[in-house]
C-alpha cells in the first residue's frame, strides 16, 4: 500500500469512517464551496474613510511609515522626498504593474526607476498592493510579473503604493477580491501579507527591526 | 424553617485540614453557620480522591468517588475549604462517571450542589461582609484549581476587605502556581523548590506580614518555604477561612502553639 493510501486508511480507521459516507462528503463539499464567514472583529467594521484612517494607525503602530497623496501625479515627489529624507540613492526597482506606467515619472527627473525582479542589489523596491487590511495595518501583495515577490524581501527599503479604495476592513475582504480575480479555489502563486518591516526577537526577546527582509516599510496611500 | 433559608450543608473537610489544620474546619463551620446554614460533618468522608485521579489510578478514584456520592447524597450543599478538592469534586467527579449513565446523573447532581467555601459564602449565600478583625497587612495567593477551575479570584478579596484592621496588598504573579501540585512537590522536588522559591520572593517583596490562600496544600508549601528561607518571623501564614471567621488566636501554620504549653 502506498504511504498515501496507508495514511488515509489509518485516518479512516481511527475516525471509524469509510470516506464514502454521503453526509460527510456533502458537509465537506459545501464548506469548500461556500466557505462560510467566521467572526469578523468589529474593530474594522467602519465607513471607508475611517478604514483608511485605521489602516494608517495600525501600520504605524508596527513601525511602517506612511505618506498620503491625492493622486498618482504626486507619487514621484512623495517617493523622491522619502528617499532624500532617508539619505537613500534616487533609484528604485518595480514590476510591470500598469500603475507604474501611469505615474508621471518625469516630475522627478533624477529619480531612476527600473523594472524587473530583484537580484539582491537593489536598495529600494517599489510594489503596488492588491489591498490593505485595516484591522491590523496589513498589506496584501500578489506575485507575478506585475509585482515580483523578490522586491518585497530583498531590498533594504520596501515602498508600497496602495490605492485608498483598495483598503478594506478585514482579511475576508481580501479573499473576496482574490476569488473574484482568480476564481474560487484558485490562488496566485504567492500572496504576501506584510505587516510592518521585518523584525526578530530571537536575541534575548528584544525586538529588533530589519532581520532578513526590509529594514524599512514605507506605504504611500494614493487618494 | 425553609431549606433555602437554612440549607443543610455538609462540610467536606478535606484530608489536609482534617489532619494538619483542624482550626480551618472549625472556621468553615462558623462561617457557614453565620451564613444561615445548618452544618453537618458526615463521618463517612475521607479524601476527595485527587491523589489517585491525578496519578492515573482511575479505578481507585472512582471507588472513592462512589463512596462520596453515597455519603453526601442527603445534603442540600457540599462545601469544602479548598479550591483544589472543590475542583476535584465539582469538575472531575462527573468526568469519572461520564461513561456510566446511572452514576453520571448522580455525579452531576452532586457536582451542582458542591462548592468551595469562600465562593459558596459570597456567590450562593450572598455574604458581603464578615464580622472579624485582624490588624495585619495581608497578601493573597490565588491557588490554581480554585482560580482556573472554579473562578475564585474576587470572592476572597471582597470578604477580606470587610475584616477590620486588615489591609490587602497584591503580590506579583499571584496567579502563578506555588509549585505544590500534590505529589509533584515530592516527585519533582527540585523543580517544585525553584517554583516555590520564586513564590516566596514575590510574597516577601510585598512587605506583607500575612500570607493567605484558600488551600492547605499550597499554604503548607509556601509556609514551609518562607520559614526555611528565614521569612518565618516576619510573614505568618493562614488559611483565609480563619481570618474571615475571626479565629486567629491559634498559632499560624507551621508555628508552635506557645499559648497552649501545658
Amino acid at each position: 500500500m502506498s504511504a498515501r493510501d496507508d495514511i488515509l486508511a489509518t485516518i479512516r480507521r481511527s475516525l471509524g469512517v469509510t470516506g464514502r459516507e454521503p453526509t460527510r462528503r456533502d458537509v465537506v463539499e459545501q464548506r469548500l464551496m461556500r466557505s462560510p464567514r467566521g467572526l469578523i472583529p468589529k474593530r474594522a467594521d467602519l465607513p471607508p474613510a475611517e478604514q483608511v484612517a485605521l489602516f494608517i494607525k495600525m501600520a504605524e503602530a508596527v513601525s511602517a511609515s506612511i505618506a498620503r497623496v491625492a493622486s498618482l501625479d504626486e507619487v514621484p515627489d512623495a517617493l523622491a522626498g522619502f528617499l532624500r529624507a532617508h539619505n537613500l540613492p534616487m533609484a528604485l526597482r518595480h514590476g510591470e504593474d500598469a500603475i507604474f506606467t501611469a505615474i508621471p515619472w518625469d516630475r522627478q527627473k533624477t529619480l531612476e526607476h527600473r523594472s524587473g525582479r530583484s537580484d539582491g542589489n537593489d536598495l529600494v523596491g517599489l510594489s503596488h498592493a492588491l489591498a490593505g487590511v485595516a484591522e491590523t495595518g496589513t498589506l496584501a501583495l500578489v506575485s507575478g510579473n506585475d509585482n515580483p515577490t523578490t522586491l518585497n524581501f530583498l531590498p533594504d527599503t520596501h515602498i508600497v503604493l496602495i490605492d485608498a479604495k483598495d483598503i478594506v476592513g478585514d482579511y475576508e475582504s481580501v479573499w473576496d477580491r482574490l476569488r473574484s480575480r482568480y476564481g474560487r479555489g484558485k490562488m496566485p502563486r504567492t500572496l504576501n501579507f506584510v505587516t510592518g518591516p521585518s523584525r526578530s526577537g530571537d536575541i534575548e526577546q528584544k525586538i529588533l527591526l530589519g532581520a532578513h527582509g526590509p529594514r524599512q516599510l514605507h506605504i504611500v496611500v494614493v487618494g | 424553617m425553609s431549606a433555602a433559608k437554612h440549607p443543610r450543608v455538609a462540610l467536606f473537610v478535606t484530608c489536609l485540614v482534617d489532619m494538619f489544620r483542624p482550626s480551618v474546619g472549625f472556621a468553615a463551620v462558623k462561617l457557614l453557620e453565620e451564613a444561615g446554614c445548618v452544618v453537618d460533618v458526615p463521618a463517612g468522608q475521607t479524601c476527595c480522591g485527587q491523589p489517585a485521579f491525578n496519578s492515573g489510578d482511575r479505578a481507585t478514584a472512582r471507588a472513592i468517588a462512589t463512596r462520596i456520592l453515597d455519603t453526601f447524597e442527603a445534603y442540600d450543599y457540599v462545601v469544602a475549604p479548598s479550591g483544589s478538592c472543590g475542583g476535584m469534586l465539582k469538575s472531575h467527579v462527573p468526568e469519572l462517571f461520564a461513561d456510566d449513565p446511572m452514576q453520571a446523573a448522580r455525579a452531576n447532581a452532586f457536582a451542582a450542589k458542591t462548592f468551595e467555601l469562600v465562593s459558596f459564602l459570597t456567590d450562593v449565600r450572598g455574604m458581603r461582609e464578615v464580622n472579624a478583625s485582624l490588624a495585619a497587612t495581608a497578601t493573597y495567593h490565588d491557588s490554581c484549581s480554585g482560580l482556573r477551575e472554579l473562578g475564585i479570584k474576587r470572592q476572597p478579596r471582597a470578604l477580606l476587605k470587610s475584616v477590620t484592621g486588615l489591609s490587602l496588598t497584591e503580590m506579583g504573579d499571584s496567579e502563578v502556581c506555588c509549585g505544590f501540585g500534590g505529589t509533584f512537590c515530592v516527585k519533582y522536588s527540585d523543580i517544585s523548590n525553584k517554583i516555590v522559591g520564586k513564590k516566596a520572593e514575590d510574597i516577601a517583596a510585598t512587605g506583607a506580614d500575612l500570607l493567605l490562600a484558600g488551600d492547605m496544600g499550597c499554604l503548607m508549601n509556601m509556609a514551609g518555604k518562607l520559614q526555611r528561607e528565614g521569612y518565618g518571623e516576619r510573614i505568618k501564614v493562614r488559611h483565609v477561612a480563619e481570618v474571615l471567621a475571626g479565629m486567629t488566636d491559634g498559632p499560624p501554620i507551621g508555628e508552635a502553639d506557645h499559648g497552649a504549653e501545658n
Binding site: 465537506v28 467572526l39 525582479r117 504576501n192 532578513h212 | 483542624p22 481507585t60
Partner: protein
Amino acid sequence: MFLTTETFKENAVEALGNEQLQRAMHNVEAGFIGKRKAAADRLPEFDQLRANARDIKNHTLAHLDLYLEAYEANLTAAGGLLHFARNSEEARSVVLDICKRVNARTVTKGKSMISEEINLNEALSAAGVDPIETDLGEYIIQLRGEHPSHIIAPAVHVLKEQVEADFRRVHTHLAPERNLDEPESLLGEARAVLRDKFLKSDIGVTGANFLIAETGTSIIVTNEGNGDLTQTLPRIHIVIASIEKLVPTLDDVSQILRVLARSATGQDFSVYTTLSTGPRRPGDPDGPEEYHVILLDNGRSSMLGSEFQDMLRCIRCGACMNHCPVYHAVGGHAYGSVYPGPMGAVLTPSLFGVDKAGHLPNASTFCGRCESVCPMMIPLPKMMRHWREREFERNLSPATFRAGLSVWAFFATRPWLYHLATRIGMLVLGFAGKARGRFSWLPLAGGWTKYRDLPAPAGATFQAAWAKRPRT
C-alpha cells in the same frame, strides 16, 4: 534520535543549576506573557475567536481524510507535487531524493519543527548537503550544535554574550576587532552572512503553519522574512508539514490567524503571512520552479479518535510553555524532546512512546495556566492525566509510588480505618512537632523537607475534635 526524556529529572537538576540558563529563562516571562495579555485584551472578540478556531479544527479533524483529498486535488491542479510520508524516514528520503536529483549542495531552511521532528539536518549533512538554518534563533542554535529549546523562540535559552562568542568562533572571515556588544550588531552580522547563503541556495525547505484544502495552499507565518527568502530564491521549494495542519478554507484560516500571533508573540499579526500555491507561473519573473509538499503522519493518524485527538488542534504558538512554571524553571532542553513544555508533555509520548517519555506528563503541577491561554482551547492537563492513566494501566509508574498509592487507597476507601490511622498518626506527629510547630526533617518526607519545613499537625484531627465538640 535526540531524545533524553528518560533522564528528565537529571536534566532538570542540571538546568536548575545552570546560571546562564536561569538568567535567560527570565526573558520568557518578560518577553511573552504581558504582550500576549495586552494583545488579547485589545481584541474584544478574542475568546470567541478561540472558540471558533477550536471548532474549525475539530470539524477538520473529524473530516480529515476528505479535506486531505481536496487539498491534494487543488495542490496538484496548481502544479504542486504532494508526497505522503508515514514516518520520519520516509519524509527524509523524499527530501534526499530531490537533493540527489538536482545535485543540490546547499539547502536553506525556514524555521520548521517538523524538520526537527524528522531530524532532517543530520540526514542532509550525512548525504553531503549543507543545511543552513536561516531563522536567527535557529541559526544561533545550529552554530552551537543544539536543538531548539522553544517552538517559536528556539534560542530563548541563549544569552547575547553567548551569541557573540558563537559568531566570533564561526564567522572567522570578519574582522576580529568588530564590535558585537549590542543585539543590533549581532542581527546585522547574521543578516549579512545569511544573505549570501540565500542567494546561492539550491533548495529552500520551509514548514507550514497551515494547509488550505480549498485552494491547495501552504501558509508560513514569520517575522524575519527568512522563510520568504528561503522559498522564493532557490529553484526548488519543499514544504514539510504534518497532516493536522489542514484547514478547510481561507475564511477558516483567518479565524485561526487572528489568535495565532496574539497568543505567540503578542503581535496583532505577524509581519509576514505568506500563502503559497504551486510553483512559478508562466510569466513569473521569480519564485521556485518546483513546489513540493511532504505530508508527514508519524503517528498522528492514530491519535484521531483517541483521548489525544484534541492535541492535533495545536497550532504551535508556544503560549503553553510561555506560561508554564515548570518550563520557566528548567527550560526546554530538559524535556529532552523536540517539543517541550505542556504541548510537548502531551505530544512527545504520542510520538515516541510513553515508556520513554513518561516523565513529561508527570512533571506538571496541573496548575492549568497552559489551558487557560491556549488559543485552541486544548485541555492540556486533562491529556497529561490521560497519559498518567495509560502509564498506570501498563504498570509503568515507579513501584514505590504505586505501593504508596495503594496503601493510601486502602485507607481512603475505609473511613473508620482511615480516621483511626489519621488520628493516631496526627497525635504522634503533633506531639513530635509541638515545640517548633514544624519539622525540618522527617522520615519518608525527604522530598518535602529537603527544601522546606513541614508544618506540624495540631495533634487531634478535625474529625476527632468535631466528634468531641460541646453540643448545644
